[in-house]
């Protein structure tokens, strides 16, 4: 209950850009480390990125300052990443969930200056043993869908991880989202994709025999797209 109230107050202060905002955000950040309340505090970081239809909006005469989400993001992201890397296992995931919520709620333009710090974290998460791999994958998929230019340079590092996930993950949802990420990769420039094509096609062929039909459907969709990236269209 306490953490819930804290979240609402922090959100309303952030909307207004109140001068005491920093203090409240710092309290929220510190509470993430608490073994009892940490999990619930992650909701606070989710709330900070969402717009509320009920009470905290312009229609209810709230003072909503411009770019408040972006301001919060820039303030919290570095402490969150730093704490994630240094915390013990028990609370690490609270930081991680908060980072993922913040990333989902902000656009590429806000995220891009911090990519070099965020990306190693995301890449670390893209392996089958990680617990939050599905959420990380979905965030990743959204980034790829919006054709984030920075990711183009990292194709060599994450494509093999995506291929590995699409084959060895136990859960079909993860395999499907990994394949969707690979599908979205085709939006990048041909020069970056061609060196990977042969490896992708041969790994995807192994996925064709997946035991679930929905996964097989995604494999066919992804493989067809990769096969067609260098097809020269001959308009007669």
């Amino acid at each position: 209950m306490l953490s819930f109230k804290l979240s609402w107050i922090t959100t309303s202060l952030s909307l207004k850009g109140h001068r005491k905002l920093r203090q409240w955000i710092d309290w929220s950040l510190n509470l993430l480390a608490d073994p009892l309340y940490g999990k619930m505090m992650t909701q606070c970081f989710k709330m900070l990125t969402q717009s509320d239809d009920g009470y905290l909006n312009k229609e209810c005469f709230c003072s909503v300052k411009l770019l408040y989400r972006q301001r919060i993001f820039c303030y919290v992201i570095e402490p969150l990443i730093c704490k994630y890397n240094t915390s013990p296992e028990s609370v690490k995931e609270n930081y991680l969930i908060s980072i993922l919520y913040q990333m989902d709620g902000n656009s590429y333009v806000t995220l891009s200056p911090y990519f070099s710090k965020i990306l190693p974290l995301l890449l670390q998460l893209l392996s089958p043993e990680e617990v939050y791999v599905l959420q990380s994958l979905q965030t990743f998929c959204n980034l790829l869908e919006s054709k984030t230019p920075v990711l183009e340079d990292y194709l060599q590092s994450f494509v093999p991880k995506l291929l590995n996930l699409s084959q060895s993950s136990k859960y079909m949802n993860i395999r499907i989202v990994a394949l969707q990420c690979l599908y979205n990769c085709c939006d990048y420039s041909l020069i970056k994709l061609l060196p990977l094509k042969r490896q992708v096609i041969s790994e995807l062929s192994k996925c064709l025999d997946d035991k679930k039909r929905l996964v097989r459907k995604e494999v066919v969709r992804t493989k067809s797209r990769w096969l067609s990236i260098d097809v020269v269209n001959d308009d007669d």
């Binding site: 859960y171 679930k212 039909r213 097809v231 020269v232 269209n233």
Partner: protein, 153 residues
């Protein structure tokens, strides 16, 4: 050069396959069935008209046989008219699409529905010959046409 079949009869497209609870269960394995194969090839475009093979009833689910346990897939296709010159090309596009979309363990057989084409025996032989299929794919003009047909699948 005029079209072979100026005015083909059109058929309705069937609904998308519904997703059942079993489909979403991680532990249930699902075998390949004729509907899955049909879904793979029904969208292939006819080389002459901007219509799919399903709409022209060239392929039909009832003419597809699948045996997952012995790794065989048999597809019968029906050219729209008995002297259709595109029959080989259509057969080839079905075969190539299945070669790319099914696991390598399957033996794929694509033949003309008996009695629906004048040169069915010759065409069936061509489609069955692995080397001829590979050679056809090497031909740039042919592979461009094939890619166009399969792109919509």
């Amino acid at each position: 050069m005029g079209l072979d079949n100026e005015n083909p009869t059109l058929f309705e497209k069937s609904e998308e396959r519904t997703v059942s609870a079993k489909d979403l269960d991680d532990n249930e394995a699902e075998e390949f069935d004729s509907r899955e194969i049909f879904d793979l090839i029904r969208g292939i475009t006819d080389p002459e008209h901007p219509l799919s093979l399903e709409e022209l009833r060239v392929v039909d689910q009832s003419l597809i046989e699948v045996e997952d346990s012995i790794n065989t897939v048999k597809v019968l296709f029906t050219p729209t008219i008995p002297h259709c010159s595109m029959a080989t090309l259509i057969g080839l596009s079905i075969k190539v699409r299945l070669l790319w979309c099914l696991p390598p363990r399957f033996k794929i057989s694509v033949t003309i529905t008996p009695g629906t084409h004048a040169s069915e025996h010759a065409i069936n032989k061509q489609l069955d010959d692995k080397e001829r299929v590979a050679a056809a794919l090497e031909n740039t003009h042919l592979s461009t046409v094939l890619n166009k047909c399969i792109a919509t699948a």
